[in-house]
């Protein structure tokens, strides 16, 4: 698994359900960040040259390399617009949600 997925939070009902430390296990993500977004990135796949600058610079790591095509994990994209601003081909556009 390349990146952790959203997991449903179950409220602990028994002492054994609680984590041993102050956190749950690595990559335990019961909440998404999608609600933060005002603008959503939309990739123009014809203009994209797959330079991976967006992949490198996304603060949240939500750009996915998928066999030569850029995809975005909309569960965790915060809509900051770094990808669209840094794209050398202007292949990413920020569209209002």
């Amino acid at each position: 698994m390349n990146r952790p997925k959203h997991t449903e939070f179950k409220f602990p009902t028994h002492i054994d359900d609680y984590p041993t430390g102050p956190q749950y296990t690595a990559g335990y993500l019961p909440e998404t960040n999608a609600g933060w977004r005002t603008f959503r990135p939309v990739v123009d796949h014809d203009a994209c040259v797959y330079c991976l600058r967006c992949y490198l610079l996304c603060p949240d790591g939500t750009i996915i390399k998928d066999n030569g095509v850029i995809k975005i994990d909309m569960d965790y994209c915060k809509g900051c617009g770094v990808c669209a601003h840094e794209c050398p081909k202007d292949a990413i556009e920020m569209v209002k949600e």
């Binding site: 610079l57 915060k78 900051c80």
Partner: protein
């Protein structure tokens, strides 16, 4: 010692697909999270991560959420380096060979509060990579001045007004203070030059002993910049000469970037809300300080 020239370069094409800092709650466009994410992608899964109080621990460990996909722990504010020393010693005692211990601390946690522990760690030459992501103030607690806040910055503890033009002290020269410990490897970087940063983290990964990287990371919330310009601002800071890219290795300083001409400082300052109040005289102080620093660096390091 490994031959550092032959280590394979890590870039966007060949770096691991795995994300080790994912689903965190940092502000949109956070520069510090770019620094942490890229460093962890270079260092890989077998990394012990120690973070003092600061943005990256605040956004990564929100119970029950756990955004770090590596072994990670929050340390005391002044003791991040000593805790990392302990982790490295523990890993050695257990006979673990292919592991690295890394600290991600902010500018306050490095240059002010965590400094004596860091100094001790470098003195003992423990196998720890210490990365300081520098956003030039205590951002997590609401933008207070730190030792690395540059001249003229408006913060909540140095408000700009009739009496003072924001911060009245200059940025502490952290890189040379660290280099003065005769450390095995120290470097400065900026997230505006990501490939340079990746190379430096990769180099530090392959050096046994204490290493230090000072990475300039923008903060849209504290700097008053639009979220999408985070990377551009960090690049501008290097282009106008306020931040330099350098390395310290085998007792020698090396300037990685020595531009013939600097981009205008005023354009860089005017883009940010934290410098909006600055007058031309204030900006001249910044430029004068930059020129003095560069003439000394060029004379001594080249």
């Amino acid at each position: 010692m490994t031959n550092l020239v032959d280590i394979p370069k890590v870039n966007a094409k060949n770096m691991t697909e795995k994300e080790f800092f994912y689903g965190h709650k940092a502000c949109a466009g956070c520069g510090g999270s770019v620094a942490v994410r890229l460093a962890l992608k270079v260092l890989g899964e077998r990394t012990y991560t120690a973070l003092p109080a600061g943005c990256m621990s605040a956004v990564g460990f929100i119970y029950p959420q756990m955004a770090f996909n590596t072994n990670a722990v929050i340390t005391t504010f002044p003791g991040s380096a000593s805790m990392a020393s302990g982790i490295a010693a523990g890993a050695k005692a257990l006979g673990q060979k292919d592991v690295k211990t890394v600290v991600f601390a902010g500018d306050g946690g490095t240059a002010d509060i965590g400094f004596q522990a860091l100094s001790g760690m470098i003195d003992r030459n423990d196998d720890v990579l210490y990365i300081c992501y520098d956003n030039e103030a205590y951002m997590n607690t609401g933008i207070q001045k730190s030792g690395l806040t540059p001249y003229g910055t408006k913060t909540t503890t140095t408000p700009a007004g009739k009496n003072i033009p924001g911060t009245v002290t200059h940025k502490k020269n952290l890189f040379e203070i660290i280099a003065a410990h005769d450390i095995a490897y120290a470097a400065t970087a900026s997230i505006g030059y990501p490939q340079d940063y990746l190379n430096k983290v990769n180099k530090a990964k392959h050096i046994k002993g204490a290493t230090f990287i000072h990475v300039y990371a923008s903060c849209p919330t504290g700097w008053g910049t639009p979220t999408e310009t985070s990377i551009e601002i960090a690049k501008d800071a290097v282009d106008c000469g306020l931040i330099f890219l350098a390395e310290f290795e085998d007792g020698e300083y090396k300037l990685n970037r020595n531009p013939k001409e600097f981009a205008p400082v005023k354009d860089y300052l005017k883009k940010q809300g934290r410098f909006k109040h600055m007058t031309d005289e204030d900006m001249d102080v910044v430029i004068e300080n930059r020129d003095r620093k560069w003439s000394r660096m060029r004379k001594q390091w080249l």
